[in-house]
Amino acid sequence: MALILVLIALGSVAFHLLSPWWWTPIASNWGTIDTTLVITFWITGIVFTGIVLFVAYCVYRFRHRPGQQAAYEPESRRLEGWLTAVTALGVAAMLAPGLIVWGQFVRVPADAREVEIVAQQWRWSFRLPGADGRLGAADIRHVADDNPLGLDPQDAAARDDVVIDGDDLHLPLGRPVKVLMRSLDVVHNFYVPEFRAKMDMIPGMVTYVWFTPTRTGTFEALCNEVCGVNHYAMRGRVVVDPEPAYRSWLDRQKTFAQFAGAAGPRRHVSAEP
């Protein structure tokens, strides 16, 4: 027993150090999340190894032998006090950096550009602000064949918005983005492992998350909140471009006004009251 416990402790550490499975190379500003995670690995790893080895020692050293009698020691205030204090210190050492980073996570930089992601079973659509630099109003009541995201046709700010339906999202390198999230049907979650940040998308409300892409490339996006039978197949892609490439991509995209015009006469989805 004692030997196997030692093997478990050392084997777990060895697996941690040697296994090929580790996080994806980061592609956003959230390296601080990775740092907090590493701090947590250190503290918890030391505690785990220490306690399992201690148990192994006890099991070996105090195994039953004829004539042996256990010590009688109901409690020790001093020892319990010390252990509590050390534990509290360890917890604080993980919690404090965690909360500091969370403080950054919830405060969106003022210069972040807005991008919208809209989810429905089982695909993603995207919307970028038009020339006016802001996203117009949208509501599920406006959703129609030629208006998949339900933009408000009366809102001038919405008419110049760029709508991307059935294609990849592009983001400029090095610019903070605030991603606004909506869902038309059930709860989804937009998850790009390399960005670390993610958030659920809830029908009936708008959620948000922010990050700064720090590496160009094409990244896989997947749904990370169970959303029905094709949940596992709800995937998309995000392409991070240098600014010039991003600009030329953006210029090729259709605005809501063009999109609606190209789709022929407006037809409302049959709406029940």
Partner: protein, 588 residues
């Protein structure tokens, strides 16, 4: 015999008046519609283990798909989602909760406290039969058109009741009805456990002389009585949304191009209700395990549990804190992100009393006289897996660290380790420990050791590497991960390995079942107290204990439950009902 008359003799000052016990009149009322808590406990346990076998088979099917995708043709995405949903719900509610509270609770509360039975035996009987009905309704969902619900055990609306989710027509309705029944049945039992602990203890059994098993079960029951109502209303509201078109959890929705007749509801409200139940639920399962494992360690290390009073307060503190941490399941749910500061802090604070419990178990081993019996092996297995799962909880509880890990295989690995493997090891340890009292015979030790080693090492091999899949970014609840560009090919090898180990661990449970059945007739006779334990259930006049438990007169308690290896005593244990000197230093 079973109709033992209740003693009126030897009443101590302050002792409660004994009431007349219910007496069974026929075989049916003795063994089927029994009001004896011991029979009800066996009924609860057998039913829970039976439905647990269904969950075990489902876990095999899940691992079959994950380890060897496409190998069998009958597992499609719909079936996969139905398997994971039913596996999760069965394990958490119908097995773990029912077995710890309905099984261990019913058997041990009266016996360990020196009571004749639960205080409301008739309601106690009803509790079991309603639980059985809930299980049958749940099982029925496998046989209705469309099959059981595939919404995930968390049942998040709107998807749980929309057409894109399997089992939308019948499965989800039966699931919600079954949960409602379960909660009704549980409440009947739960009220019983609480009142029995508070009112029916033997003379001298003060609260601070109760074994930690009882403290764990008692606190867990209080939590359950406070937490299950949240699930009850959540289930009822979702049932109304599904059946008569209300919109408690349903905002305006477009499904497959159609505007639904819903509007104005809040999906996130359900999540709050669910987790207001769901987090205390973790401790409803964990606290009885904490209590039982404390008694196993103390008995088999022949040493008092270290820091008894601290252990009691830790149980109570964890129980109280468990009601203010629920939203750590919702860090990326879209709730106001400022909640994160509060819930991360409360969640990490709960680590402190939990760590104290781990230290005290380990310090109980220190300078003990450790007998590596089968129950002790399971108890040590629990310490390792619980420690591992508890520490990974510090990742997920620390809001910002949770962001990349939430809904990945890291979470799956974490909660299986901490509230799957760890409590189940305690259940096994508890069964090996108390089976001799229940049946009068010992379980076979060699089969028990085989069962332990395969289960413990196998479970560790399954769930430890799984954390690293989550760290890599492999999401949970994926029917297949084919084609994910960031997942290296080596992952399929690891998945196949995990699956093979899971098949072996599952098969090892056959050794356990064979042992349970075979030892009933052929086990070595146990005698009244094979482990030389101090607590009252081992001091009954008959083994197995008769109806009424104590023969003519109730036991009288003179000491705390952990007088092992008391210096100067003639044996290395002093039963709680043995009069004599109390050692200085022992809690009164």
């Amino acid at each position: 015999m079973a109709d033992a008359h209740l003693g009126t003799a030897d009443r101590l000052p302050g002792a409660i008046e004994e009431g007349e016990l219910y007496h069974p009149r026929s075989w049916i009322t003795r063994y089927v519609f029994s009001q004896d808590a011991k029979i009800i406990a066996i009924q609860y346990s057998s039913t829970a283990l039976a439905i647990g076998l269904v969950a075990l088979v489902l876990s095999w099917l899940i691992r079959l798909q994950l380890g060897f995708p496409g190998l069998v043709s009958f597992i499609g995405p719909s079936e996969y989602y139905q398997y994971i949903t039913m596996h999760g719900m069965i394990m958490v509610v119908y097995l773990l909760t029912a077995l710890f509270l309905g099984g261990f609770g019913n058997y041990l509360i009266p016996l360990m406290l020196g009571a004749r039975d639960m205080v409301f035996p008739y309601v106690n009987m009803l509790s079991y039969w309603i639980y059985l009905l809930a299980v049958l309704v749940l099982v029925a969902s496998f046989f209705v058109p469309g099959g059981p619900t595939g919404a995930g055990w968390t049942l998040y609306p709107p998807q749980a009741i929309l057409a894109g989710t399997p089992g939308r027509d019948w499965g989800i309705v039966l699931m919600l009805v079954s949960l409602i029944l379960f909660i009704i049945g549980f409440t009947m039992g739960g009220v019983n456990y609480v009142v029995t602990v508070l009112q029916a203890r033997a003379p001298g059994m003060t609260l601070m002389r109760m074994p930690l098993t009882i403290w764990g079960i008692f606190t867990a029951t209080v939590l359950a009585l406070l937490a299950f109502p949240a699930l009850f209303v959540g289930a009822l509201m979702m049932l109304l949304d599904r059946l008569i078109g209300t919109s408690f959890f349903m905002p305006a929705i477009i499904e497959a191009g159609q505007r639904l007749r819903h509007g104005g509801g809040s999906p996130i409200l359900f999540q709050h209700l669910f987790w207001f139940f769901g987090h205390p639920e973790v401790y409803i399962v964990a606290l009885p395990a904490f209590g039982i494992v404390s008694d196993l360690i103390s008995t088999h290390a022949r040493k008092n549990i270290f820091g008894y009073r601290m252990m009691v307060w830790a149980i109570v503190a964890i129980g109280a804190l468990s009601f203010v941490v629920w939203a750590h399941h919702m860090y990326v749910s879209g709730m106001n992100p400022y909640f994160g500061f509060f819930f991360a802090t409360t969640t990490l604070i709960i680590a402190i009393p939990t760590a104290i419990k781990v230290y005290n178990w380990v310090l109980t081993l220190w300078r003990g006289d450790i007998h590596l019996t089968v129950p002790m092996l399971f108890a040590i297995g629990f310490i390792v897996t619980f420690l591992n799962g508890g520490l990974t909880g510090l990742f997920l509880g620390n809001v910002v660290v949770d962001v990349p890990l939430s809904d990945t295989m890291f979470v799956v690995a974490h909660f299986h380790m901490v509230m799957g493997v760890a409590p189940i090891l305690v259940i096994f340890g508890g069964i090996y420990h108390w089976y001799p009292k229940v049946t009068g015979r010992m379980l076979d030790e060699r089969l028990g050791k085989l069962h332990f080693w395969v289960t413990f090492l196998g479970a560790y091999l399954i769930f430890f590497p799984m954390h690293y899949l989550g760290l890599l970014g492999v999401p949970r609840r994926y029917f297949e991960i084919e084609g994910l560009s960031f997942v290296p090919a080596s992952v399929s090898g690891l998945n196949a390995f995990i699956s093979v180990v899971a098949f072996v661990v599952g098969a090892a449970q056959i050794a356990f079942l064979v042992n349970l059945v075979h030892s009933l007739r052929h086990g070595a006779p146990a005698g009244p107290n094979p482990w030389r334990a101090t607590t009252l259930e081992w001091q009954t006049p008959e083994t197995p204990p008769a109806h009424g438990n104590w023969g003519a007169s109730l036991p009288v308690v003179y000491r705390w439950p952990y007088d092992y290896s008391v210096p100067g005593a003639d044996r290395d244990f002093v039963p709680q009902n043995q009069p004599g000197l109390t050692r200085a230093g022992a809690p009164a």
